[in-house]
């Protein structure tokens, strides 16, 4: 018979809180979930994920970082951090498919959504029924996001949208889309005249084409929009204010999301070294490379903790500098570390293995993890964009 857990009730006593989560995780994490998810069919996977979300919902942790008013546990920030730490430490199932739903959508709606929008959309997320996707990037507007061309023309009580989106994660599974489109083609700067919509992916004229990726999976897709009608009620914020709101959406990638990703790696990093104790950890050079990477990993974890402290003190996320430094350190580090493992482990690490859908770069499927590291060096502002930001915006060096 299962114990009754009161995790949220332990707030105020860190040790008890952590112990309660650990006990709960120890009992509830679906045994062998990684192996089972590997190569599973889509429907079964979704059922697994919904079941896990339901398990989390029972203890109030479906959405650990949400405020109480929107169905979250209303945890103090420090306790949100602990939750993600413990999830990483226990290797709880990953929910990459719900990333937009759990992070980007609430970050956008909490701040900019109408009451009606919040009421209508948030519960579908906590229950795991609605997957959201993001419609920001376009084939001609990747690093240069503001160059987007998808148009939204107002016609009475709706907008008519035409264009094409790309790199939209999980959009083949998505019910809703956070969409950026140009409502005013005559804006002075290219950032002007962009508006922000909630788009129902079941609308006529929406077509999704999964993009095969170099890991063999298709986690993201292109979205073709052909005279898609979006009700005016689905506009988020004011018309033409989409660029600013999009910054809120994207800022969510700076906090707990990257924290969780890095903590996952810190967990697998430890396992990697221990499991190699009779193989590459016996080679002086590899030992040293591993030990050197340890320092780098710690430096990233510390920067993120610093950022979390700053975010707690100032939830408006004022400073763009630390997130930029973190991204420009983390992505390349992750790529080097996963590449190091390929070299250290040799041919065995290069064997093809089915990927584990809906999980990140710490699956310990070596080649997959290496290839997925590009997700951090290219997506969400490539290394190159980050270097522009550091040199020009942070250090004030002149534009070329």
């Amino acid at each position: 018979m299962s114990r009754v857990y009161d995790i949220v009730g332990k707030v105020g006593d860190e040790q008890a809180f952590r112990q309660e989560i650990r006990d709960w995780l120890a009992e509830k994490i679906p045994a062998g979930w990684r192996a089972r998810w590997q190569g599973v069919r889509e429907e079964e996977l979704k059922a697994e994920i919904v079941a896990w979300l339901e398990e989390r919902r029972k203890v109030g942790l479906a959405t650990p970082h949400w405020p109480r008013e929107w169905g979250g546990p209303g945890l103090p920030f420090a306790y949100q951090i602990m939750v993600y730490e413990e999830f990483a430490r226990a290797d709880a199932p990953e929910l990459d498919m719900y990333t937009i739903s759990l992070f980007h959508t609430p970050a956008t709606l909490f701040e900019h959504g109408t009451q009606e929008q919040k009421d209508k959309y948030l519960s579908g997320i906590t229950q795991g029924t609605d997957i959201w996707c993001q419609g920001f990037s376009e084939p001609g507007a990747g690093s240069d996001l503001a160059a987007l061309r998808t148009s939204a023309r107002r016609e009475g009580d709706h907008y008519v949208v035409n264009g094409q989106k790309i790199w939209s994660s999980s959009s083949m599974h998505a019910r809703y889309c956070l969409l950026l489109a140009r409502t005013d083609p005559n804006g002075k700067r290219k950032h002007d005249g962009i508006s922000y919509f909630i788009m129902d992916m079941h609308s006529p004229g929406v077509e999704v084409r999964p993009i095969p990726q170099i890991t063999g999976e298709s986690e993201f897709a292109e979205i073709f929009l052909d005279d898609v009608k979006i009700p005016v009620a689905n506009l988020i914020g004011a018309e033409g204010n989409g660029w600013n709101i999009a910054q809120s959406t994207l800022s969510t990638e700076r906090g707990l999301l990257i924290f969780g990703a890095v903590e996952r790696l810190a967990h697998s990093f430890g396992l990697d070294g221990r499991e190699a104790k009779d193989t590459w950890m016996r080679d002086v050079q590899h030992r040293r490379e591993y030990a050197a990477l340890y320092a780098e990993l710690q430096s990233i974890r510390l920067m993120i903790r610093q950022l979390l402290i700053e975010l707690e003190a100032n939830p408006d996320k004022a400073s763009p500098t630390l997130p930029t430094y973190i991204k420009l350190t983390w992505g390349p580090f992750l790529q080097r570390y996963t590449e190091f493992l390929l070299r250290a482990e040799g041919l065995e690490a290069l064997k093809w293995q089915p990927s584990i859908p809906g999980t990140g770069h710490s699956s310990r499927l070596r080649m997959n993890d290496f290839l997925k590291s590009y997700g951090w060096t290219i997506a969400g502002g490539s290394n190159e964009i980050m270097r522009n930001i550091v040199s020009e915006r942070i250090l004030g060096m002149p534009r070329g």
């Binding site: 990037s137 001609g140 990747g142 690093s143 240069d144 160059a147 790309i166 790199w167 993009i211 095969p212 990726q213 170099i214 063999g216 080679d283 050079q285 590899h286 790529q335 590449e339 390929l342 070299r343 040799g346 041919l347 065995e348 690490a349 290069l350 064997k351 093809w352 080649m367 290839l371 590009y374 997700g375 060096t377 290219i378 997506a379 490539s382 290394n383 190159e384 270097r387 070329g400």
Partner: protein, 357 residues
């Protein structure tokens, strides 16, 4: 001088055929489906005599040497051709160095005409005990074993290192295929269950270490050349993309930070190619033949893996898709690093040789 000319012509003819028969679109499509090897391409190669390159003329071959091996494998690397040519190259070397006349007569013609596709064990692969009339055991991760119809396995007989040569269809022999992330090659686990050793199956080299070195040299040259060919092709394709892809109202190839990375890659490839070609041009008995070959291998394989890694980054988002070509080269580059001596293993050997010099 005429040798050089021939090599240039030869390399040109390799490239011409592969450009026509194995264009980038085909390579991209191939990588997305499940295949054992590109059989049509193999047949074409065989028809053109490529599989006969190093086989002596008396066995129906062209009798060429290691420089030609590098030219061929360089072209195959450039095309990322999914053919088990390395097996042929190594099997021919092995038979010429250690096979008896009967074995040479038995296998070389088939290798030359492409009807035999060989898988040859790497250094470090499992050694099979071959003391009786039949062998049992298992050899894991044999490169290209699944696409081969003849296997060259490391063995030990009477306490001495040996090789055994077995047909894939020999009774008691089975091969379980493992796909690699590099879809241009596969691995296979070979299981031997009382497989009979007939008269020609056993190769006992007079000097097993010298044979290993000879095989290592040829493998190193072939892989180094394959790496360079791939590196040049992935970089050229990336430069091409950078001259059309626009961001911030400019082609991305005009951004200096990207150009400087490309310049370093190009320079590294030019330097590495020189090393590979020099190593391939040395006679097998040149005192530096092995040193240069493994130096070239460890250097070229590493440099190209790094260049291919950056080519995806230089492509941006599309580089992460299986619809573009760079990933094929990255994955092949990673396998080139891992086979026939990882870099640490080769560097240890090189250091030993430098100390002994």
């Amino acid at each position: 001088m005429s040798d050089d000319l021939d090599l240039g012509v030869l390399a040109g003819s390799f490239a011409e055929m592969l450009d026509a028969e194995w264009p980038r679109e085909k390579a991209v499509a191939y990588a997305r489906a499940d295949h054992l090897y590109a059989e049509d391409l193999w047949q074409q190669m065989a028809a053109l005599g490529w599989t006969a390159l190093t086989v002596p003329e008396e066995y129906g071959g062209l009798g060429m040497g290691s420089a030609a091996v590098a030219a061929l494998h360089g072209a195959l690397g450039a095309a990322a051709a999914p053919v088990p040519m390395l097996g042929t190259t190594l099997a021919v070397e092995l038979l010429l160095r250690a096979g008896n006349a009967a074995q040479q007569a038995a296998w070389l013609p088939g290798l030359a005409d492409g009807s035999l596709r060989a898988a040859v064990a790497q250094p470090g692969d499992t050694v099979v005990a071959a003391d009786g009339d039949a062998v049992s055991g298992s050899v894991a991760n044999l490169l290209d074993a699944a696409s081969a119809n003849i296997l060259f396995l490391r063995a030990v007989r009477g306490g001495k290192p040996a090789w055994i040569v077995l047909r894939s269809d020999a009774p008691g022999l089975s091969v379980e295929r493992h796909a690699l992330t590099d879809t241009t090659r596969t691995l296979g686990t070979v299981t031997l269950d009382g497989v009979a050793l007939d008269g020609d199956a056993l190769i006992v080299p007079a000097d097993a270490a010298a044979l290993d070195d000879a095989l290592l040299r040829i493998a190193a040259l072939a892989i180094a050349a394959d790496a360079i060919g791939g590196g040049e092709r992935v970089l050229a394709g990336t430069i091409e993309y950078m001259t059309v892809r626009q961001q911030f109202d400019r082609v991305i190839g005009s951004f200096q930070a990207l150009k400087h990375r490309v310049a370093d890659h190009q320079t590294a490839l030019v330097a590495a190619r020189g090393l590979v070609e020099y190593a391939a041009g040395l006679a097998a008995d040149h005192p530096q033949a092995l040193l240069m070959a493994i130096s070239a291998k460890q250097h070229a394989a590493r440099a190209v893996a790094e260049i291919a890694r950056d080519c995806i980054q230089l492509h941006g988002g599309v580089g992460f898709t299986a619809e573009f070509f760079p990933h094929i080269y990255l994955k092949r580059a990673k396998v080139n690093e891992a086979i026939h001596g990882t870099r640490p293993v080769l560097l240890d050997r090189i250091a030993d040789m430098l100390e002994a010099a």
